[in-house]
């Protein structure tokens, strides 16, 4: 069985409205974040992956299976969708237990798996209350529990941290990390970029239905040629260092840090710049640290999807 | 955080009068009213019969203009209670179908999508909300019932003279009151069902069910119990009895008295209103 999730030239149109267009992706195991503004196609991509909608063009394969094979696919895939609704009249426990019976599990196994999933999200006390009466955070947690109850290998999560308090957020992120470590594909979408930074192994940036960039953050950042890389250098003689930098043609801008103990440098060729820093250090100048400041999701998002990057 | 620029002020300009505030709902509901082509086409079709009646009135008064009727001096038909009863009956049936299209979509989407909270946290009461939603049906149905009816009466009066106008004033009053009664009953029924079931399509199905089931069960009661009281469940029959009495048509063959019909129909409307007010709430508590 393949270990990838593959989108092969996939497009989806809702009538005249573009959902996603010409998406080519190959998602490895680990935590992959879908990032993009509202309406960029993240949910469409997730719905395509899970067969809730069908592509207008192209092919999708999840671990070698297609969404046309639900009886095999959904043993391996769990989806925590954005839809905040439940079948009428079911308690949290019944929601998970009843749908586990659809897997063909017997009553005892379904019961055991249901309670295990409920415990994982910390909802044991509320499990026998109607799901429709839960608070927003509880609803999110029970949906998460429902998606992980059958121990899937691919977990697709549409804004899974919405409505969760900080403690539960941390626990949920820890759960995702654990699952990713065990070889699962965890694909989630989020607007909280600093969390995406912390937890993701790779990101897929989307805008206007197109995949703008994919890969690990540093790799994506290094490929954005038109945006000079910003690097923060902490040193004791910033003025002297600044005048040295101005001799280099790849240095676009040098600014003094507000505390006057560092420089913010923009360079169009980070590799040459780092070689330069080696020479500077070998020449005896005291440099405390050299760190890129814009190789995070926030910066990449701004460059690619912000005003300048909109297609 | 220090507040040092106290420049925020609430709006203090002119506001619209409170009494007409409910018409805001009508204005916005109207925009979605005729998005469906089938619905729009049907609404246009509803004007055909009044138009046909209008042409008939003209033809009736100007037979000599038509070579087909050359030599005929008697009118084709009498413009009396029966004429307006047929007009009212036909247009009322179309009004029912139109209500089944429009009515269910008025309250149920607001309940299903949690929009009622948004309405009721504004300075609008539940009664105004219901009035606003009802006004959609009232105004739409008025255009196909009493408005063309009055127009037909005016046209016939202009063709027949002032005497006819004065002697038959009860006809226009009957058409007006009869139409309003039917409009109010249909509106309350549609809104009550729309609020009760929360699904637009099921509300539409229930409207059909209540009309057909009511008539069917009425017949069943009459057949089984050898009585005529079964008609108390048939709202179309009750309305028809009331129209006959308002238009001073013959009442010999009616199964119930007009008083019984009025009471039954008003009780039906009252229970729809009760159900509606019970269901139109900002919050639903799930236990």
């Amino acid at each position: 069985m393949s270990s990838q999730i593959v989108f092969d030239n996939v497009s989806k149109f809702y009538g005249d409205v573009l959902g996603v267009n010409r998406v080519n992706l190959s998602i490895p195991p680990g935590i992959t974040s879908l990032v993009g503004p509202n309406g960029s196609g993240k949910t469409t991509l997730m719905n395509l992956m899970t067969g809730l909608i069908r592509p207008s063009r192209g092919k999708i394969e999840i671990l070698g299976l297609t969404p046309d094979q639900p009886e095999k696919l959904f043993r391996l895939v769990g989806y925590c969708s954005q839809f905040d609704s439940f079948p009428k009249g079911l308690t949290g426990y019944e929601l998970i237990y009843s749908f586990l019976l659809l897997f063909g599990h017997d009553s005892a196994t379904a019961d055991e798996l249901a309670w295990k999933a409920i415990d994982r999200v910390g909802l044991r006390e509320a499990a026998n209350r109607k799901a429709a009466g839960y608070s927003k955070g509880m609803r999110q947690r029970i949906r998460l529990a429902q998606s992980i109850a059958h121990n899937p290998r691919v977990l697709v999560l549409d804004e899974p941290l919405n409505g969760l308090d900080p403690l539960v957020r941390a626990e949920t992120i820890a759960l995702f990390r654990l699952l990713a470590k065990q070889g699962c594909h965890v694909i989630l979408s989020s607007h909280v970029l600093h969390e995406v930074d912390i937890i993701s192994d790779q990101v897929i940036l989307m805008s206007g239905g197109y995949v703008v960039a994919e890969g690990n953050i540093q790799g994506v950042r290094s490929e954005i040629q038109e945006q000079p890389m910003q690097i923060l250098i902490r040193c004791d003689q910033p003025n002297t260092l600044a005048s040295r930098f101005f001799e280099e043609d790849h240095v676009v801008e040098v600014r003094m840090h507000v505390d006057k103990k560092g420089l913010l440098v923009k360079t169009s060729d980070p590799d040459r710049f780092f070689l330069l820093m080696n020479r500077v250090a070998l020449a005896g100048r005291r440099v405390e640290s050299v760190a890129p400041v814009d190789d995070d999701v926030n910066s990449v998002y701004e460059y690619l999807i912000g005003e300048e990057g909109v297609r | 955080m220090a507040v040092y620029k106290r420049t925020y002020r609430g709006y203090s300009g002119a506001i619209t009068p409170m009494w007409s505030r409910f018409l805001v709902l009508y204005r916005f509901s109207r925009q979605t009213l005729f998005r469906s082509k089938i619905q729009t086409a049907f609404y246009v079709l509803c004007f055909f019969f009044p138009l046909l009646c209008l042409l008939g009135l003209y033809a009736n008064a100007h037979l000599s203009a038509f070579t087909f009727f050359a030599g005929r001096t008697e009118p084709l038909f009498a413009v009396d209670s029966k004429f307006f009863l047929i007009y009212l009956g036909f247009q009322a049936s179309l009004a029912f179908i139109l209500t089944a299209f429009i009515g269910p979509g008025l309250v149920s989407p607001d309940l299903a999508n949690g929009a009622l909270t948004l309405y009721l946290c504004r300075p609008i009461s539940r009664a105004e909300y219901v009035a606003g939603k009802m006004s959609v049906l009232v105004i739409t149905l008025s255009w196909i019932t009493w408005v063309p009816g009055i127009l037909l009466y005016i046209v016939q009066s202009s063709l027949s003279g002032l005497d006819w106008f004065v002697q038959n004033l009860f006809l226009v009053v009957g058409v007006f009151l009869g139409s309003w009664l039917w409009i109010i009953v249909l509106s309350l029924l549609a809104l009550a069902l729309s609020a009760y079931v929360k699904w637009r399509i099921v509300a539409g199905a229930l409207m059909l069910a209540i009309m057909f089931m009511g008539a069917g069960f009425a017949q069943a009661i009459n057949a089984v119990l050898q009585t005529k009281q079964g008609y108390l469940l048939d709202i179309s029959k009750l309305a028809s009895i009331i129209w006959q009495s308002l238009l001073h048509d013959t009442l010999d063959d009616i199964p119930l008295s007009p008083t019984e019909a009025w009471f039954a129909l008003l009780a039906f409307a009252g229970s729809c209103l009760y159900l509606l007010m019970k269901k139109v709430r900002a919050n639903e508590v799930v236990r």
Partner: protein, 361 residues
């Protein structure tokens, strides 16, 4: 059959029954189904109450034509000229509208074939008439039951009840935004369709066959044990009861498959439901081939008692009553099941390509 499929179908049925049975929003279906039971029970109570009043020996029975010829405003002489002398007369005095003068009220009672016809006079002039039917013969009761069963129970109660139950299965889930839970489970969509259909069918058949059985019991309450025993053992009573229950089940199968399909195929299934209602009603008028594409065509043929056409019956009702091209029971069962199977097959093709797009609902 694949044991996994059986387990999955059972799981779907379990899920659906929780939502269908004892759900408050399904209360109207129960009211619909059990309204005829209430009706027949009331009839039995009334029949038992009035049965004791037999006409005196030799009294002339009034016909329906004579009864309907009596009008408000007629004098006593005019009434006795038409109907003859009454079997019983009651006289009383009541205060009039102006309390100075009392009003003499006289009620003349004439015997009917089953029951009594009363003519009320105030000050010698007819002001009202009313009939009290009682002691209806058993054979007539079977016609009354057949009429209510065919025209109200099948065509309206089961029709709208199945509309409510089966449309809920897919379209209702879409509106509730909960269908995606099913589509994200490892179940073939065709198996899901079968499971949901069987769940709806189970609910519908239990509700409506129970109602039909109770109606039969209620309709027989006003008859003595010997009459009922004679009907059951000598007049193929059990076979008739079995036929009514079978017709009920088949009606649920037929209408259920149709409404499941309309719920899948149409965003607003009310228009096709209205079309089906008109199609079923217009069945007697259709050509032979088109007649067969209808649920009521097969059901009518299987009803054990054909409702007789009265001369005074309205033409439309007479048309609905008549069964000019009856089909044998076996062919009717096979035909109906075949029709349902075709409809379900079409639904299964549709469910395979079903997409979730709640925002457009």
């Amino acid at each position: 059959m694949n044991p996994l499929w059986i387990a999955q179908i059972k799981a779907v049925i379990r899920l659906e029954l929780r939502k269908t049975f004892f759900a408050r929003r399904g209360l109207w279906i129960y009211l619909l189904a059990f309204a005829p039971v209430a009706l027949f029970t009331m009839q039995a109570i009334v029949e038992n109450h009035v049965k004791g009043e037999n006409p005196p020996a030799g009294a002339r029975l009034i016909t329906d034509q004579e009864l309907s010829s009596i009008r408000h405003g007629m004098t006593m002489e005019e009434v006795t000229a038409r109907l003859g002398q009454p079997a019983y007369t009651n006289t009383s005095r009541h205060p009039g509208p102006d309390s100075a003068k009392d009003v003499q009220v006289r009620v003349m009672k004439y015997p009917l074939e089953t029951g009594q016809f009363n003519v009320v006079f105030e000050d010698g002039v007819v002001t009202g008439t009313w009939s009290r039917r009682g002691g209806i013969p058993f054979y007539k009761e079977t016609y009354v039951f057949a009429g209510v069963f065919q025209f109200f129970f099948i065509r309206l109660a089961i029709f709208f009840g199945c509309l409510g139950i089966f449309m809920n299965l897919f379209r209702g889930e879409m509106l509730d935004k909960s269908l995606h839970y099913y589509l994200l489970a490892p179940i073939r969509r065709e198996v899901l369709l079968v499971g949901k259909f069987l769940a709806g069918l189970l609910a519908a058949t239990v509700i409506f066959t129970f109602s039909a059985a109770l109606q039969l019991v209620a309709a027989s309450l006003s008859f003595d044990a010997s009459t009922i025993s004679q009907f059951l053992y000598q007049q193929h009573g059990f076979s008739q009861i079995g036929s009514y229950l079978l017709v009920t089940v088949l009606a649920c199968i037929g209408y259920g498959s149709v409404f499941l399909a309309t719920g899948l195929l149409f965003k607003n299934p009310i228009i096709p439901a209205a079309i089906v209602l008109i199609w079923e009603a217009a069945n007697p008028l259709l050509p032979t081939l088109l007649k067969k594409i209808s649920v009521i065509y097969y059901l009518k043929s299987m009803c054990p008692v054909q409702v007789p056409v009265d001369p005074g019956m309205p033409k439309l009702l007479a048309l609905l009553v008549s069964n000019t091209e009856p089909v044998s029971a076996y062919l009717a069962v096979i035909g109906l099941i075949a029709l349902s199977a075709v409809v379900l097959f079409a639904s299964s093709q549709r469910v395979r390509t079903l997409e979730i797009n709640y925002t457009t609902e």
